[in-house]
Subunit: 125 residues, 2 copies
Amino acid sequence: MRIGELARRTGASVRSLRYYEEQGLLTSSRSASGQRRFTPDQVERVACIRQLYAAGLSSRTIYDLMPCSESPSPENSDRALERMERERERLTASIAELARARDALDGLMVLNRTDRAGLVDAAPR
Amino acid sequence: MRIGELARRTGASVRSLRYYEEQGLLTSSRSASGQRRFTPDQVERVACIRQLYAAGLSSRTIYDLMPCSESPSPENSDRALERMERERERLTASIAELARARDALDGLMVLNRTDRAGLVDAAPR
DNA sequence: CGCTTCCCTGACATGGGCGTGAGGTTCCAG
DNA sequence: CTGGAACCTCACGCCCATGTCAGGGAAGCG
């Protein structure tokens, strides 16, 4: 399929898809006239890429992780796994941090409600 | 206390603290010579600000939220609460998304391990 | 006094994913 | 054949919290 189709199917912009390719996250064959051609399973790959972006990984990191992104070998696999482990930990920490932030927000909300009640009490004009 | 002290106590850089002030998130009195003076309770405030930054709020949003940041009034309180509610939802969604991303990563790890095992099996030179 | 350390303002740099526009080619339906 | 949609490359812009450098006052100790 062409790039517009892939964009429609994945929800990514055409620009983003080109960018992913530029970053080595996505490969395409080219038609005689130079247009990119993608295979159906790239849809899934894009979804995966976007998941990882959503997890806050950089394109470089995603590149390093992509299974068999270049030459599959036990060494590469191990390196990737190690990296994934690290990122997994980062993610977990990040989730915990967000949860803490949410708690902090809850605290602010309570505070605000209290303040508000105080205001209404004090000056019920 | 002076800005360096506050930085040490909060873990924020001096640059960041100035920036927070510039964004209206932090106030300071000035000494005769123009140096910023902070009170001890600003330490907590900075911690709170950083929590919210960590939650992905923009300085503008944080500004809008800060309790009684300008004129405390029931209307302002309500607006702030509404905003907080929205941000809370965003946070919750974001946490869920990160969790999904972590699952995706787990999937990749399993895949990678499988691939690796296959490689070792197939070509155990 | 002088030395070190801190503080001030102002301004430019940066990263990174993506929007956007220019200027041009290709594809396809009518 | 023709017009519009889709595609191409190149390149600049943006956001925004921070780092960092320059150039110059303060603070405080020996």
